[in-house]
Amino acid sequence: MTSKASATSPAKQLVLRVNGLTKAYRRRRLGWRSHEVIVAARNVVFEIGAGETLALVGRSGSGKSTVARCVAGLEKPDAGQISVSGAMIGELGGCDLRALRANFQMIFQDPGTSMNPRFTAAEVVAEPLVIQRIGDRSTRRARSLELMQEVGLAPSFADRKAAEFSGGQQQRLAIARALALKPKLLVLDEALSGLDLSTEAQIVNLLLDLQAAHSFAYLFISHDLALVARLADRIAFMAHGEIVEEGSIPSILEQPEHPEVRVLLASARTAQSTLAALGFAP
């Protein structure tokens, strides 16, 4: 693995630290043969500081979603340490983990399936507060409205059912919900795919604004290089469960080293040149 100019400056506070993360899945087959073991992530190491965005890029099956889920506490790694704001979360489960969950939240790819469609918008956003038993009804509602405003949803939408919102609006709700516990880290797993161009633009702008205001650390999983270039400070390429190259965006784009990364960038370049030839400009 090559790393270029990627060390976080010591002045920045380290929010997420992943060391030696390894996770394997088993495929149980019926019959005489033994289980098939597929190593989804192997010895993954990276760090993210406050206000920074690291993008995890790779093909499907490269392990990026597995890493995201482990960091978000949705799966337990087989080996390795994950620490968020100094607290080790890799080994924890259940109640211990719940207390620490305020520090990191995840935004999923399909907002429609990540929230209860029968909940009202206010209920969706207040759910983390309910689970962590923070405040009472009125304070929770006030906080919901505050959060909705912050993500650009009018308070008049508060009592609409989640199912009635558009995809982009639902993703805003998901972001508002994620902000409820004042996390330090947001894991965005393909959170922008499937959105319209204009909606996507609005959400990207929202994410940039929020990061500037609150110094969130973002772990951004995507296979869209153009989006990554706009949102991320550094990029880590994954292939076959390992990080094969990591560095800042400009340096990687100019001088990719690993063959897989080169192939990825080359295929992106052909599409780019077609677009540029037609007069598209960034």
Binding site: L197, L208, L225, A226
Partner: protein
């Protein structure tokens, strides 16, 4: 392409309305007009709510039960699609017109082998012995890029990767050598790296067999690589239409211009933190019938007449058509 040939499909002033239960009617298509020549590759550029998927379904008469055809017609190879019976339609679907759906993971039957699934298409439309079918299927699988067709024949969809599944779907679509293929966002669920491969495969098949394509996408990269002609849709209408060069380089309609400036986002540039430009306003409300242009509320160049009536279609040089009052003489 023989200029004397008739069009493969002509959609004229087609209107389609959905009637959801207990809700307002949604006007998905509103006097949409489109003509596709044999072997031509047309790209439909639009966002969600533009009616692009409805257009594809409408051409194949595959709309859900609560959809209602209003005015207009769909002519496929001189036959009026709206007048055909279900039996006649079944003979056309899959054989003369095929659909490549969006999500390859969902488009294949999970409990039937790949070989059998392609075989189903052949059985439905071609008279062949089982051996002939088998040979043909292996030919098709090789044509779409599988190195070992015999091995793929007996596998199930969940054993294949996303890119492989999309190839199988394409193999199904071309199995009976259709004249027209409708592809609805065929690469949006695939990795960016696979996009190029799938698009060049489809282009190769189109050129080789003279298959006309209508490819629907919101991603200009896809259209730039694949299509020859672009039609831009907004709120159920085609607002601009022209060659790829004309439409992308010299967009006429304000919506097209806005989309193209938004599409700069698809270019990789190292400008971290720059905000993306967005079109102001909300997507069009399809439950109301506008008298004027649906884009008017969001249009930077709107005039008084824009909300009063719908602009006629004007044609500039080289078959570049646009419906906008700015160009109405």
């Amino acid at each position: 392409m023989d200029p004397a040939c008739e069009s493969v499909v002509v959609v004229s002033n087609l209107s389609v309305t959905y009637q959801p239960e207990g809700g307002q009617p949604v006007h998905a298509l509103d006097y949409a007009t489109l003509a596709v020549q044999p072997g031509e590759r047309v790209g439909i550029f639009g966002e969600s709510g533009s009616g692009k998927s409805t257009l594809a379904s409408a051409i194949m008469r595959l709309l859900p039960a609560n959809a209602h055809y209003g005015s207009g017609s769909v002519q496929f190879q001189e036959r009026n699609m709206l007048a055909l019976s279900e039996t006649e339609l079944r003979r056309i679907r899959g054989a003369k017109i095929a659909l490549i759906p969006q999500d390859p993971a969902q488009a294949l039957n999970p409990v039937i082998t790949i070989g059998d699934q392609i075989s189903e298409v052949l059985r439905a439309h071609c008279r062949m012995t089982p051996d002939e079918r088998r040979t043909r299927i292996e030919e098709l699988l090789a044509e779409v890029g599988f190195d070992h067709p015999e091995r793929i024949y007996g596998t199930y969809p969940h054993e294949l990767s996303g890119g492989q599944r999309q190839r199988v779907v394409i193999a199904q679509a071309v199995a009976c050598r259709p004249s027209l293929i409708l592809a609805d966002e065929p690469t949006s669920k695939l990795d960016a790296s696979l996009q190029g491969e799938v698009l060049s495969l489809m282009r190769r098949l189109s050129e080789h067999h003279g298959i006309a394509f209508v490819l629907i996408s919101h991603d200009p990269t896809v259209l730039a690589v694949f299509a020859d002609r672009i039609a831009v849709m907004y709120a159920g209408r085609i607002v601009e239409e022209g060659s790829k060069e004309d439409t992308f380089r010299r967009p006429l309609h304000p919506y097209t211009q806005a989309l193209i400036s938004l599409s700069g986002r698809y270019l990789i540039s190292g400008s971290r933190g720059t905000r993306l430009s967005a079109i102001e306003g909300e997507p069009p409300n399809l439950t109301t019938v506008e008298r004027g242009c649906a884009f008017a509320p969001r249009c930077p160049d709107r005039m008084q007449t824009c909300s009063e009536s719908y602009p006629r279609q004007t044609t500039r040089q080289t078959a570049h058509r646009v419906s906008c009052f700015k160009y109405d003489e």
